[in-house]
Each structure stands twice: as structure tokens, then as C-alpha cells.
Symmetry: C2
Subunit: 335 residues, 2 copies
């Protein structure tokens, strides 16, 4: 900028005004500045600008996901990026791997690099570690999981309703022995979906069989093993309710490994690529992760634009997609 001012023969102030489009600069001077900028290939140092300007805006946000390579989170990322892009905002992204410690490190890393706001799929027990940043004016929106012990905007799905819808659908197909395959219970959605499962069974007057409830499945492989164990029970389930995409994948693989995919019903939560090309197709309660990302980013920018008012919780609808696996009737009992 110093060089630009020298070449254009004006002061730093004038260069700054032109570069920021602040106007009120005589056209011939502005033209000289633009020429110097082009000639020197000058580009403003955004971080220095942020440091000095009154509003301290950096045009960057931080996004904390469980795992950026999980299609569910990757789609959220995409949704966030689309909204951010429309405002010239760039996105730091990181995976917590569902580790609260790692989540905090990412958040502090993002804050230390001056982001204007945070979008967090939080796995922390509570988010009081954010209080200081919130009070300092940092925008924060929670995605997929609500905050605990602090107040902030959140974009969620109705997890209990999603699980209940899966149970309802399987019960309609005639099932009463429905196994639940859940993720680690420190994850809000895992707990809520299990609760939805339990409550729906109760509503249908089906006794809960703890032998049919698997939790803590943290990978497709874990779900694969758990499913095989379930299928080997004396009184195995006639239907499976895997509670997220990776688990559904593991369950589908296990059914195939046993050759029982046409016999044991499946309704998964969250959709999968190629789910409709399997035989049978996999019936799911689909989420709208891009919509989650869009909405969360919109809430965040609304706050950064100065919107006040109490924190909002927005729920993104889910949708039952019937493809075959959820409509398999239980085998008639022999003997």
C-alpha cells in the first residue's frame, strides 16, 4: 500500500479510500491509484485491515463438524459455504471427531484467527467455554445439536420424531422386534434418537428389549459387527433402525454378509448415496443437510448484521423415503 501511494503520488489515506471504495476521491486521483494497484499487483492485507477497522470484521467464519468426510457433514459444509460465498465470506473448517477437547481447540483456533462467527456441531457436554467469546460479540450458531447451559441460535431436526417415524413405519409393516443401532451417546442426536425409539415402542405397547439396543457405534465397521451379533441372537430382530448414515451402511453390509437383506427390514435415519440402487432399496428418514447448513449460515449472518432478539431454534423437516427395505414384513414364526 505504501508503494501504491508512492507510485500514485498520493497519501495512504487516499489509497485506502479508493481501495475500499469509500468515495469522495477526485476521479483523476482515484484513477492514478487504480493504475498503481494494477501495475504493482497490489492486494489489500485483509488481516491488517480487520485489525484496524472499527467493526473488526474479517469476512471469515469457523465451522466445526464431526468429520468433514462424512457425507452428512460434507453436505452441511456445502450449505454453509454457499451462503457464505454470497457474502464474500470464507470458511475455516475442522473435524472434532466427536471429541469435546478437539472441539474446543478448533473453536479457540478459529477465534484466535479472528473469525466473525462460529457454526458448531457441538459434542461438548456444555458450551460454557464459549461464554467469553459470546460476550465479546462473536456470532455463534449451533448446527445439528443444540447448546447446553448457554443461549444461542440452533438449527436442528426433530430427532425423536425422526426415530419415532422410523419405528412407526416398521410397526406398520408388522414388526415388533425392532433393533436400534445408535452412535456414541455423548452425541445429542444419538441420545435423542434412542429416546424417540423408546417412546415410540411404548406408544405401540411393544416392550423394550435391551438386547436389541446397541449404542456407541462409532463407525461403519462397528455397526457391521453389532448387526451380525444381533442377527445371531436366539430371538433375533426382524427389523433394524440404524440411527445415522455410516451405521446404516454397516448394517446393510452385515445383512448382505448373512444373505438376509430380503428378510430383515431396515429403516435408517439420514440418506445414503446409492441407497435406491440396492436390492432392496434402503428406506430412510432423510435429512436435508444442505438446508441445515444454509439455514444456520443465514441465522449467523443475520446476527452479524445486528439482528437482536432471543435465540432461535429452527427445525428442518425430515422425510420418509420408501424404497423397499422398510416394507419387508416379518417372517412368519415357524413352530
Amino acid at each position: 500500500m505504501h508503494d501504491v501511494a508512492a507510485v500514485a503520488g498520493v497519501s495512504l489515506s487516499t489509497v485506502s479510500r479508493v481501495v475500499n471504495g469509500h468515495g469522495g476521491v477526485r476521479e483523476d486521483l482515484a484513477e492514478r491509484v487504480r493504475a498503481a494497484v494494477d501495475m504493482l499487483g497490489y492486494r489489500r492485507d485483509l488481516t491488517a485491515s480487520t485489525l484496524r477497522r472499527a467493526d473488526r470484521v474479517s469476512a471469515s467464519v469457523g465451522l466445526v463438524l464431526g468429520d468433514v468426510s462424512n457425507p452428512f457433514f460434507a453436505a452441511i459444509h456445502r450449505g454453509v459455504e454457499e451462503v457464505a460465498r454470497s457474502r464474500g465470506v470464507l470458511t475455516f473448517v475442522g473435524s472434532s471427531d466427536e471429541d469435546p477437547e478437539r472441539e474446543r481447540e478448533l473453536v479457540h483456533g478459529f477465534c484466535g484467527r479472528g473469525v466473525d462467527g462460529l457454526l458448531i456441531a457441538s459434542v461438548a457436554r456444555d458450551q460454557t467455554y464459549l461464554l467469553r467469546d459470546l460476550q465479546a460479540g462473536m456470532g455463534v450458531v449451533f448446527i445439528d445439536r443444540p447448546p447446553e447451559a448457554i443461549d444461542a441460535d440452533a438449527v436442528l431436526i426433530d430427532n425423536t420424531a425422526a426415530a419415532a417415524a422410523a419405528v412407526d413405519h416398521l410397526v406398520e409393516s408388522g414388526h415388533r422386534r425392532i433393533a436400534f443401532l445408535g452412535d456414541r451417546e455423548q452425541i445429542f442426536t444419538a441420545r435423542e434418537r434412542r429416546r424417540g425409539y423408546r417412546e415410540a415402542l411404548a406408544r405401540h405397547l411393544i416392550p423394550l428389549d435391551e438386547a436389541l439396543v446397541c449404542t456407541g457405534l462409532e463407525s461403519s465397521e462397528a455397526a457391521f459387527s453389532a448387526t451380525r451379533t444381533l442377527l445371531a441372537l436366539n430371538d433375533p430382530p426382524t427389523a433394524l433402525l440404524p440411527s445415522q448414515n455410516l451405521i446404516t451402511g454397516g448394517a446393510v453390509h452385515a445383512l448382505r454378509a448373512e444373505g438376509r437383506q430380503q428378510e430383515v427390514a431396515v429403516v435408517g435415519i439420514d440418506d445414503l448415496t446409492l441407497a435406491d440402487a440396492l436390492e432392496p432399496g434402503v428406506t430412510v428418514i432423510a435429512q436435508d443437510p444442505i438446508g441445515l447448513g444454509h439455514t444456520a449460515a443465514q441465522l449467523l449472518f443475520a446476527r452479524l448484521d445486528g439482528e437482536t432478539g432471543p435465540p432461535r431454534q429452527v427445525f428442518i423437516p425430515t422425510q420418509l423415503i420408501v424404497r423397499g427395505s422398510g416394507e419387508i414384513a416379518p417372517a412368519t414364526l415357524t413352530g
Copy 2:
């Protein structure tokens, strides 16, 4: 930091030394500084630090991908993140959507925010727009696609070999009418894979039938339509070579829509989730996108650590995974 110094009753210099762990500070003073830091919840402003320090290191990098929600790119992202994390480096990520203009915007946005290096899956015709940043010492590593008209490190796969391996495998299964389904030709990998296809056909003395070559497929849906058109030809292909994951998905769906998945062979480039659960399973030339990300990040950090020497091109191996679809023999000609 000002407040910390006041509370601890020391100078800014001393606070800076303690916060940066520079040592050479009397233990009782250091302890007072740490107490003040804890009490005030102080955290250093990394951007201000970067601005002032001699090495100007920001501990952040920028990653430009085609689309963050494509599983191939999401896995690269994951690989990059893992290496970056091990060094305390955070990652800006963005999707070019295979638009050179958008790529430049992202790169300039990242540079303007002071990243130490860039990892780019470039779609630009040439990367001379980076020359200025390169000369200014910015680390740049290309991923999946090599630079053109500039010199820089790159991590790639052997695209022609991958396509040729797919052709070879299909020829071994008896095919001679092999259709190629390619992405937009401004993408390096799309061009190279088509070239590999063409050269392999020539090697097998199979005449190239332009009616069997589809290019410019930019989505699963486009691949779906193109495949249906191919299947409707008077003299349709007996095998398909979709050149990336989304296209393979579209082709698989089209075959199913026509009920011809057991009749027309498929060998795709790049692996798909659930590819092994389909019937038939989808034979692919798998890439190692996490490995691409790992290696690219390692190259970048080696450069940032001061490694000199000529630019390197590293090739990550691919692997044929046999699952059924590639081993379907061509139907015997009737008549």
C-alpha cells in the same frame, strides 16, 4: 494483552515472552503473567501476532476443491486436515465448482487472509495468476491436477493408466464396445482419462467409436441421461467406463432403470460407498483420496519448513477392485 500486563504488573514485552514460551523470564514473573492470563481469560490475537512477527506465519492454509460435498474431495479435505492438525494449522476450504474464476477468487481470498500456503485442485487453464504469490513466498501444492505454465509441487494419480486399466479389464472380460463417460473437459483428469481410454483401445486394436464417447457430464443426472441414450443406440455398448464417482452413480442408476445391470459391464474410476453392496457389485479403479490429501499437505509443510529443490510430482497408486460389474461378459450376438 495490555490488561494482562497491568494485572501482572509487568511490561507487554514480558507478557509476550511468556505467552509465546520464549523463556528467559524469571519464574515468579512468569507465574504472575499466567495467573493474569487465566483470570482474564486472555487469548492472544493470532492475526495481530502474524502481522508483526518476523516469519509472518499464520498457521493457516487454504484448500481449493472442486466441491467440498463430493466424497472424493471430502476425503482429500480429511487427509489435508489430519496433517495440518498435527501441526496446529487450520484450514480454509472452498469449492471452485470447477469454475476458474471462482478458483481465483478463493485463492485471492485465502491469500488476503494471510494463509501460509495453498493446496489447489485447479481447474484454471494456467496458474500464472499465482506467480506473484509464489514469488512472495507463498507455498503452493497442486492436488489431483498439475499446474500449467508455472512450476510447483503436485500430487496426482496416473490418470491415463487408471483409464487404461479399466479398459484392459473390460477387454479381458471380452468387451470391444466400451463406452466412455467423462466429466467436463476443462478438468485435467477428465481429459487424461479420456486419453487413456483412447490409447488403450488403440493398443487393443479396437476402433474408436465416437458415438460411445460422452464428455461434459457434470452431474450424476447428466451421466444418467447420457447412459440411457447410449443404451438406446442401435449398436449399444456392452460395457461402460464412467470416469469418476458421480458419473458412475448416474450410470449405475441408468442401468437399473433399464433393468440391464446384469447385462452391461461397468468399471468406474474412483470408488463409491456401497459399491460392494450393489448387485452386481461395482468394479472400480479406486483412488486413495485421503492419501492424496496427506501427501499434498506433507509436501506443503516441507516447503514451508524451508525445503528447497525443484518441484516434485508425486503419484499416488490406484487399485483395481473386482466386485462383479466389470466381469460381466458381453451378451452373445443374436442373428
